[in-house]
Symmetry: C2
Subunit: 109 residues, 2 copies
DNA sequence: CTGTATCCAAGACGATACTG
DNA sequence: CAGTATCGTCTTGGATACAG
């Protein structure tokens, strides 16, 4: 892997864009939960206690825009919305798993 | 991989701490440069154009604290400081490489 | 050359209340 | 149940000037 010769701006560094996204406060928690199976929003809110409605929505919307999760509305009373990993989202999980393994071995604190 | 049963706070999620760190504006750029071999600060500053002295120092100090890079002072005039990946830093590179590969394949924009 | 010190702007994140 | 709307705070990152 040769040395970069000139400015590698943020726009030219997909890696940074990805890591920046994944570094979001609730992102990896949401992805890990959905990796275990689809969940309704309420369930997500309970499992990921601490995330305010606003942050949860924000996180979910971003992940949806990035095509990492899908959002399915089930009409009725009460309304229900189901979130699930997309194929693309699933393909990202091994990367996160690698990060997790390294982190648990090397990040004492 | 079973579903988490209760609050997974930030403190309990090493993965998030790692991703948060790596998501820093200049972190992955610095690591990638050093992965190609040790560099003096001035060289780093040139290669990673755009990073102000303050940000460069901040990034390097953080990486040093995390034992991902080493800092070696060579006395003399002018003074020279060499930065290099530590073994721990090297061990992280495959994880970053995996992220890079995924990002380049899936992150169109 | 290798940093430090200020100051400042923008964004991330959170608390709280409210709507269909 | 599934969000939206406000508002405030804290953190990140950048511009600039200066020091050993």
């Amino acid at each position: 892997m040769g040395r970069t010769k000139y400015l590698a701006s943020m726009a030219e560094c997909p890696t940074h864009r990805l890591l920046q996204r994944l570094g979001g406060r609730w992102v990896c928690l949401v992805l890990k939960e959905l990796a275990a199976g689809p969940l309704h929003r309420g369930e997500l809110g309970r499992v990921i206690a601490g995330a305010t409605p606003k942050m949860l929505t924000e996180t979910l919307r971003t992940l949806e825009r990035d095509d990492l999760i899908s959002r399915t509305v089930h009409e009725g009373v009460p309304p229900r919305v189901e979130y699930a990993l997309t194929p693309r989202g699933s393909s990202l999980m091994p990367v996160i798993a690698a990060a997790t393994e390294w982190a648990e071995r090397n990040l004492t604190r």
